[in-house]
Amino acid sequence: MFYRLSGVHYDSFASDSRIFKVPADRNLAVFFLLFGLAAPFIIPSLYLNSYMLPWLLWTAAALGLNLVTGWAGQLHLGYAAVMAVGAYSAVHAVRFGVPWEFALLIGGLASSVIGSLFAFAALRVKGLYLALTTLAMQFVMDWVLNHSPTISGGSHASLQSPTFALLGQEITSDVGYYYVGFGWCVLVTILMLNLKRTGLGRALVAVREKDFAAAILGVNSFYYKILAFATSSFIAGVSGALLVATFFFLAAPEQFSVGVSIQVLAMVIVGGLSSIIGSYFGVALILLAPGLVNGLVVAASGGLGMQVTDETLAHIPNAIYGALIVIILLIEPLGLGKLYGNVRDYLMVWPFDQLRK
């Protein structure tokens, strides 16, 4: 009814390889694109800076992980380490005098190189063992960051990020930061949307489903696995660098610790493997819901006159974060993206869905 379609049917190859199979999805995307452009004029700058910007940046990062985990099917528990490489290389490059445009590129490429090391693990093992290897690599990276003052910036282990600038233009305002994050996120999203229609995307899916079978079909799984890791690591590196440049303003090891790796993976899985819109939802939920619920708990305890200690309050968001992962996986293991798809498919034929049965 809302979608004016009776389902998704293809009558030509061109219609099958469209980016948006459902016109309403495209309209929705256009709407959100316009909304995103207009956001600084609608949303107060506090919210813009503390909610919208991290949401977009983490979504870009999550999409990168989704590329390697969702599309290529390679488990990755060391994503934050790869982000750290990008962030630290970019910041060091800028401090060395490189302009930010190139520094971001350097960060991305450095991440690609290190990220490809993870790919070599993926060539040898898969599934659980790959997860464990990447987890161990994450720990190694944590250790390196914590134990080498030259990288992490002296005894306090924090590295001040120089003022962000693009095209010689210094960017210091919230709105400016927001547009940078927005632009990057849109760029990554467009890349991912197109990935589905390319040979690369299909090859990745083939490698995910069965790498032996893919090899028999002439898909060089060796090459595509490395390519997937390298691309995803590039996205990770730039996202990490932008997070430091526009949101954290300084780089510290705990921003890229193993917990963060788990968090990004949670975003991807809660959102839905190989679902783009899902990653947006997943990031929103994992990033924002614990804080919101905590606010509710504070309000409720105040309202009911209960005594909630600070310590309890400090740990409730974590408990909620864990509970969210468990609950979403129980409701729909394919994540929020699949839930969205279910609702859309239901509405597509509503109110005539009874006729199908």
Partner: protein, 295 residues
């Protein structure tokens, strides 16, 4: 080089390693029955310690009562976790199950700390901190006790897996479909493995709680338990024990040498390196089963 010092390092390392095995055994039990990597074992260990503490310190029970009671509670808890969270994911890709156990881990840690707070408390087992002197070698008493617990658990499980229930659990680990077809309740078997792992977590929680205090740091034992389990072969309890000893020695002796060069804290690095090398060189570990592929 001082040989006595080296021996002391090795022996204490081996004892510590056996304590890592305590954590690893929990992982192995669940992996054996359901091929599920239980990344919640750290959270379970921590919860086990806090439950004992709550019973002994807050409810005023003597330890000989508090520990078995905590074991019973955690046994039920393990069944519950499987029933509520894992059962519905059976047959899903490993990435979702991995995430589920991570989610449980985060949830358990968050909830435990929200209830009991994060300040470190002591277990007060009443074991003297005075080291035992054997010849010229100092040995920590609590580590000795813990190693004893690990070894007796090991023996108990070796016997258990020869019983009929144990064989059924191993059968479940091999093939769900075939298990169902001959009337084995796969669900109950997997539930039992979670219950047993939670039971082991109480043991690990008590011993480690005594050593480093009951706080969030208990949950970080997961990485070491995981490394030990992987080196041992993930589905081999014997492997977990032997790998524990090996890693304990490598870590203790290696750290002594490496710390001079890198300025401390090389234990984590050594453990992570062992994990990476194991997976790269011999993914099925020392005693893990090869997957038999017949073409």
């Amino acid at each position: 080089m001082d040989w006595i010092f080296l021996t002391e390092l090795a022996i204490n390392g081996a004892l510590t390693g056996l304590l890592y095995s305590l954590v690893a055994i929990g992982l192995v039990l669940i992996y054996k029955a359901s091929s599920v990597p239980n990344l919640a074992q750290g959270g379970l260990t921590m919860l086990g310690a806090y439950v004992v503490l709550a019973l002994s310190r807050d409810a005023g029970m003597p330890l000989w009562l508090a520990i078995p009671l905590a074991a019973v509670i955690m046994f039920g808890m393990g069944f519950g976790i499987e029933r509520v969270a894992l059962r519905r994911l059976a047959g899903r890709p490993v990435v979702m199950i991995l995430m589920m156990t991570l989610g449980i881990d985060i949830f358990l840690i968050g909830t435990t700390l929200a209830i009991w707070g994060g300040t470190s408390s002591s277990m007060n087992l009443g074991i003297s901190y005075e080291p035992l002197l054997m010849g010229d070698i100092f040995i920590s008493r609590i580590h000795l006790v813990g190693a004893g617990v690990a070894l007796s658990l090991f023996a108990a499980f070796m016997l258990f897996f020869r019983t009929r229930t144990g064989i059924k659990l191993r059968a479940i680990a091999d093939d769900y479909m075939a298990s169902w077809s001959v009337g084995i309740s796969v669900e109950r078997g997997v539930g039992l493995s979670w219950a047993l792992a939670s039971l082991v977590a109480v043991g690990a929680g008590v011993i480690w709680g005594e050593i480093q205090g009951v706080d969030q740091s208990l949950s970080i034992l997961l990485l070491k338990g995981l490394t030990v389990a992987v080196l041992g072969g993930l589905d081999s309890i014997l492997g977990a024990v032997i790998a524990g000893v090996i890693i304990g020695i490598i870590e203790n002796v290696g750290a002594e040498f490496l710390d001079q060069f890198v300025g401390g804290g090389s234990r984590e690095l050594i453990v992570a390196a062992v994990l990476i090398l194991t997976v790269m060189i011999r993914p099925h570990g020392l005693f893990g089963r090869h997957d038999i592929e017949r073409v």
